[in-house]
Symmetry: C6
Subunit: 75 residues, 6 copies
């Protein structure tokens, strides 16, 4: 798998948020390595509220890490 | 998607709470990009206690990040 | 919605615990805004152990934030 | 409800662990206030592995807070 | 129950990992106190991927605490 | 079980990510010790979105620990 994470540092909080989403997606791709299967599965969880909510939990967890790494973009 | 997060800093804890809710909602919108589908799904999870509780968990996680960013509004 | 969070600082750990419970409840109320529906749903999750446990998880997460804000009431 | 949390500080890590379990139980009691119902529900979740595991998650979360409060009993 | 946690400090990260697993197991034992029932339940969750994954989540949470206590074994 | 964790320190964030995945996998292996059973179970959870998402949550949690250990690779 290509190196999808060269740094946790981002310029803005919004970019940090996008990185959190990328990390969440890449975790799925690390476990289910077949792109075709992932594509099919994706239509499942995007219309299932329980799974949408669980996906949002991962994003929240990844963002905690990224926000701390960036000292919350305070400066 | 528009930039929905320009800063993690809020004036009050209550505003921080509202930001946590916004972030949770935007995560859902990033995964399920069709507004019509989201609207339909929303009526599902708002009446399903299990999903309501899971949604509250995301808000709690996002708020952890925001509260730390604001040094817990201690000053 | 009224401002239900003016400060994360409480005098005692027990008050911090009560605040954690308030925050958990308010998250539910932010998503399901109809009090009548919430009342009805409440009787559901209070007798469903799985949902009781999930609710306790939210309280634990909210309390983590409040306890850190109060420097764990160490002084 | 009586004040079940006068301090997060404990003498030993093991006592901290016991406090984590107490907090988890009290959260349940705050939501389901009827002792008879709780007693009945308890036999349910103690034999359901999924709920046992979810309960252990709450204990882990509460213990994170207590361990930090005690500076991990390092001294 | 015997004192299964005399210290959070371990010599190596791997020992910290083993302690995390011990803590997760002991939480289950605190809730389901009958060893025979636990043994029976164990064969259930060890072959149910959903529960295996949930168990791994507890280990991750306990390890966060232990790793912080040991200052991540940096020195 | 062999020592699969000699250090939490990695050279790059991407290596930290790979370590997070290793830790998640090893937790499963510690609970379900039979490799044949694990192999069979793996095909289950890799095609079940709910379990894929739960697995991604573990990776997020493990990565929080590893990222903190490496001071977020800031230097």
């Amino acid at each position: 798998m290509e190196n999808y994470l060269t740094s946790l540092i981002t310029e803005t909080p919004f970019q940090g948020r996008q990185l959190a989403i990328t990390l969440a997606r890449k975790s799925i791709a690390e476990i289910q390595t077949d792109p075709e299967t992932r594509k099919k599965l994706r239509s499942d969880y995007a219309t299932d509220t329980q799974q949408l909510i669980a996906s949002a939990q991962i994003i929240a967890l990844e963002f905690q890490t990224i926000a701390a790494a960036n000292d919350y973009w305070r400066k």
